[in-house]
């Protein structure tokens, strides 16, 4: 399933305090591809992800997911999209603190009104290596383990698209490697990942560079060094 953005503009705030987060962004994420989005802080990465996933409205332009324009959908329809076809992983605060790991994993399907047999949830947790922590609450899991539960949840609904916002930002290097290997191993999904870590970005097929709300560069088959070099160039003050 492909995701396409066409001339998307997004402003935060009103009136004099308004900030333009996305200033005319056009991009296409082909089905089955793994794209990383990089950029300095304040470049609009998270906003881009949130608009692409339909978590936020755009002020101008269009977002099309699998042929359906998100702008024309009402909230209930967008929610359905998120239950069934779009998975989302955040940097932190992914899980409901009151639910156990397996209850968290089963959440989207429960919201869709479907009964989730325990076996299914446990299998999903086993795929991320946490089958023995099924009954534990988020407060009893480490940051890395929480992130893996979130990925398991995102995968359980077998989404067509997976959006990940800095999924390894709060993890130590070993856990980060495991999470990225998991994502890399997914062949059927379109993955769009926001990150500021060149090593993480190098796991993707393609890297898009964002600065001041615009796409300013693209890199295919990235290596960590190439990514880092491009980033340094972008972050350098103008005129040098």
């Amino acid at each position: 399933m492909s995701v396409e953005l066409d001339g998307v503009i997004k402003r935060h705030g009103r009136g004099a305090a308004a900030v333009v987060a996305l200033d005319g962004v056009s991009a296409r994420f082909d089905a089955g591809s793994f794209t990383a989005i990089m950029g300095p802080s304040g470049s609009g990465k998270s906003t881009l992800l949130q608009c692409a996933a339909g978590l936020d409205d755009v002020d101008a332009g269009e977002v099309v997911v699998d042929g359906v324009a998100l702008g024309g959908l009402r909230e209930a329809a967008r929610a359905r999209l998120r239950r069934e076809r779009v998975g989302f992983v955040f940097q932190a605060f992914n899980l409901l603190p009151a639910l156990t790991a397996e209850q968290n994993v089963a959440l989207p399907l429960r919201l869709a009104g479907r009964r989730v047999p325990k076996r299914q949830a446990r299998e999903a947790l086993a795929r991320v290596g946490l089958a023995d922590r099924a009954r534990h609450r988020p407060s009893e899991l480490s940051g890395g383990q929480q992130q893996r539960v979130a990925i398991a949840r995102a995968l359980l609904i077998r989404p067509k698209v997976l959006f990940a916002d800095e999924p390894t930002g709060a993890l130590d290097s070993a856990s980060a490697r495991e999470a990225l290997a998991l994502l890399r191993g997914l062949r059927e999904q379109t993955i769009v990942m926001v990150t500021h870590d060149p090593v993480a970005a190098a796991h993707a097929d393609r890297v898009l560079f964002l600065a001041d709300g615009r796409i300013v560069g693209e890199l295919d088959d990235p290596t960590p060094a190439a990514v880092a070099a491009t980033m340094t160039r972008l972050e350098a003050p103008r005129g040098r």
């Binding site: 936020d56 929610a79 605060f93 959440l107």
Partner: protein
């Protein structure tokens, strides 16, 4: 979704502790109210009591029938006229009538002042002789223990021979009863089958009562008291509903704001807006269920206490037995469930509208809180409150409290909706030098409003109603003082004064003026009337006449008080059609409009217009002699300008202070709970924010002081808004009274309002300081976000 609600609730229950406590207390009170009401109406005797053994009772018409605008209205007539002796004789002579007994009410007094109703012996209707024999000769009576043999009768003070003992009351021989009370109250007829022929003869001149209708012929003090108890308990339920909904609404709005991120996560994971709304409402239902159970347990204790309080005010028998009834639990709990859902509804709607992306951003600042709908509902509410407040003075006595309640609640609603606009400037006013307090209040305006709102509700309600009730009594006193000769004494008795009493008073050489009281009805309204004879006019009508002259009160005339004149739009020379207390119609000529202010009496008529005995005599003369007469005849004496207490427990002058007490009690209790909970939770929720202050260099003591100061300021802001509500009501009263020529007083409840604000401030400060102290115990970097 229900399971999700239960699970998330488990993690978040402290935030809803305030709502739980409010619902539990409400459930306890609501369930108790239903039980007490059931017990009180059960205790009120149903069915005829005295006439139980009499198959057919014939009296003067029991219902007032009036034709207003072509429609016939009928309502029970509290003071019936007498049955004509000619008609009674005709009925007794009917062939189908086997037996007919004349029933009379002989009002007598013991010298100690106790009032009794004596009956003819043949009208004892089932009362039995406990000892001795029946009274036969005129000088004989059968009496209960403690009545004695000296009685003050309409014919004078007389000593009787007690020949028999009965359980209660006193019985005369038939001839003596006829002499003392020539008026026929009712005719008891046997057998039942004669009813039809009696009706044919009586036509419209009498009511012929059988079966359950016989209760209409009996005085119904117990039933009236039960009805009044019902009104009071309904008022309590209304206050409960309003205040509880308010508290629950603030608690849930606040809880939803605290859970912004969690709700956004749910939305991001695929929950539709409707599912979020249902989640919040189901949580509310669960809290209501828990509260209902707790309240039901508490009601086992509360209901008997409530019943005892109601009985102590004379609205129910002393031996009232309050026990759990099967209906009380579902009714009470169901009521609180409705309150919980109503209160949580707005919060649920707002929760459903959270846009996931917005809420995921770390926005601690409330923006865009003043929505269009707040303006659309807030401003008309305030306008409505003003209108109701202005209408209070000229309304009927029974309507004044409900009007003030309505004005206060509308004003509270309006101010609460406009709070985001009004609260920050007030905070700036109170804390001009503290940047932190001002900024915190503006940024967390929802949190500030959640703490100030309960104070606004309690102070607004208490202040307004206290202002009304105290103003009414102050005005009554002022009006009476202005009207009545300060040198006069007022002599009265519970069931009225006899001719003999008046003669004895006149014999002391004093100037005696005789008055009677009653209610006159026009098409839509009721006016309290004072009937005065010629001697009373100089003693009790010493007010300026705006039109005409009260000296002309003779025959079929009436003098209007200024409020009545305005309401009726009549002046001197006009004619007025009224219904008298006994149901007869009269056309009276208006001879004067008096500047009598805002007092208990609305209109003044000549003594002869009002039926029934004299209620009071105003006497100016040798005080010692007058007091001696009163002592001998069992009468009560007081200073003329003292406000007379109305004996009827259900009269608005007695009910209003009770209503005030009920409302005050409920509102204060609720607000205390809400305040403690909100202040504590708000402080715990801000733990991260406060820890940042410590990282910047503040000590823990400084942070606690800041939090305490903020709590104080917020409470005072709520109190000031509550004072604004009171001022609105007082303004309405003032405006109404300004237009009057005569005296009227507005009482400002400063003491009450100050005491309430001080008490609430103490609660809020303590709760917030304790919460801050506890939440800031760990090192700041562990707590900061």
């Amino acid at each position: 979704m229900l399971r999700l609600a239960a699970l998330t609730l488990r993690g978040r229950w402290p935030a809803l502790a305030g709502a739980f406590a409010a619902l539990a207390v409400g459930a306890a009170l609501a369930i108790s109210a239903v039980q007490v009401l059931a017990a009180a109406s059960g205790a009120a005797p149903s069915g005829p009591q005295r006439y139980r053994t009499v198959p057919v009772v014939v009296t003067a018409p029991v219902a007032l029938r009036r034709t207003i605008a072509g429609e016939v209205e009928s309502e029970p007539n509290p003071r019936r006229g007498a049955l004509s002796p000619a008609l009674a004789a005709r009925i007794a002579a009917l062939p189908r009538v086997r037996r007919a007994v004349v029933d009379r009410a002989v009002h007598v007094r013991t010298p100690a002042g106790a009032s009794l109703v004596g009956r003819p012996w043949s009208a004892r209707f089932g009362a039995r002789l406990l000892a001795g024999r029946a009274p036969a000769a005129p000088g004989e009576i059968a009496a209960a223990h403690g009545v004695g043999d000296v009685l003050v009768t309409p014919a004078g003070i007389a000593r009787y021979r007690v020949v028999g003992t009965v359980a209660e009351g006193v019985f005369f021989s038939d001839a003596e009863a006829a002499r003392l009370a020539p008026r026929i109250d009712a005719l008891a007829v046997w057998p039942r089958s004669a009813a039809r022929s009696v009706r044919d003869v009586a036509g419209r001149r009498a009511s012929v009562l059988t079966g359950a209708a016989r209760t209409d012929a009996e005085p119904s003090a117990a039933r009236d008291a039960a009805a009044a108890a019902g009104v009071l308990l309904s008022l309590m339920a209304m206050t409960l509903g309003f205040v509880a909904t308010f508290v629950v609404a603030s608690s849930f709005a606040f809880a939803v704001a605290l859970r912004r991120r969690e709700l956004a996560l749910l939305r991001a994971v695929g929950a539709s807006p409707r599912q979020i709304r249902r989640l919040v409402l189901r949580e509310a239902a669960l809290v209501a269920l828990a509260g209902g159970l707790a309240g039901a347990a508490a009601s086992l204790l509360v209901a008997p206490l409530l019943g005892r309080w109601i009985a102590s005010k004379g609205l129910a028998p002393d031996d009232l037995d309050v026990s759990p009834t099967p209906l009380s639990l579902p009714l009470g709990a169901g009521f609180m469930l409705a309150v919980a859902l109503a209160g949580a509804w707005l919060a649920a709607r707002r929760a459903a509208r959270t846009r996931p992306a917005e809420a995921l951003r770390d926005a601690v600042v409330d923006r865009g809180v003043m929505t269009v709908s707040r303006w659309l509902v807030g401003v008309p509410s305030l306008a409505g409150a003003v209108a109701l407040a202005l209408a209070t003075v000229s309304a009927e006595a029974d309507a004044q409290l409900p009007l003030t309640f309505g004005a206060a609640t509308l004003a509270i609603l309006g101010l609460a909706l406009l709070a985001p606009l009004v609260v920050p400037p007030l905070v700036a006013l109170l804390a001009p030098r503290s940047v932190l307090i001002r900024r915190h209040a503006r940024a967390g305006v929802r949190r500030t409003a959640a703490t100030a709102a309960p104070v606004l509700v309690a102070v607004g309600l208490a202040g307004s109603l206290a202002a009304l009730v105290n103003s009414i009594s102050a005005s009554d006193a002022a009006a009476t003082r202005a009207r009545v000769d300060p040198g006069a004494l007022v002599v009265s008795a519970d069931s009225g004064l006899f001719r003999g009493d008046l003669a004895a008073l006149r014999a002391t050489g004093a100037a005696v003026g005789v008055t009677a009281e009653g209610d006159l009805r026009t098409g839509a309204s009721v006016y309290r009337a004072l009937g005065v004879d010629a001697g009373a006019i100089p003693l009790v009508l010493r007010v300026r006449a705006l039109e005409g002259s009260p000296a002309a009160l003779r025959g079929r005339t009436i003098a209007l008080g200024e409020l009545a004149a305005r309401a009726l739009r009549k002046g001197a020379g006009d004619r007025l059609r009224v219904w008298l207390p006994d149901g007869r119609r009269a056309r009276l000529r208006v001879v004067a409009v008096l500047a009598d202010g805002f007092g208990p009496v609305s209109v003044y008529v000549p003594r002869g217009v009002l039926p029934g005995p004299a209620t009071a005599a105003y006497v100016r003369g040798h005080e010692a002699a007058v007091r001696a007469v009163a002592r001998a005849r069992g009468l009560q004496v007081a200073g003329g300008t003292a406000t007379r207490a109305v004996a009827d427990v259900t009269d608005s002058s007695n009910m209003n202070p009770l209503a005030l007490l009920v409302i005050l009690g409920v509102a204060t209790l609720y607000v205390a709970i809400a305040l403690a909970a909100t202040a504590a939770i708000a402080t715990v929720a801000r733990a991260g924010e406060l820890a940042l202050l410590r990282l910047a260099g503040a000590t823990r003591a400084q942070v606690v002081r800041l939090v305490a100061l903020e709590a104080l300021v917020t409470t005072i802001v709520g109190g000031l808004l509550g004072c604004a509500v009171t001022a609105l009501v007082v303004g309405g009263l003032r405006r109404g009274l300004d237009g009057l020529e005569g005296p009227g007083a507005v009482a400002l409840p400063w003491g009450l309002v100050a005491a309430l604000i001080a008490g609430f401030a103490a609660i809020a400060i303590t709760a917030a300081a304790l919460a801050a102290h506890r939440s800031q115990r760990p090192a700041p970097h562990l707590v900061a976000p």
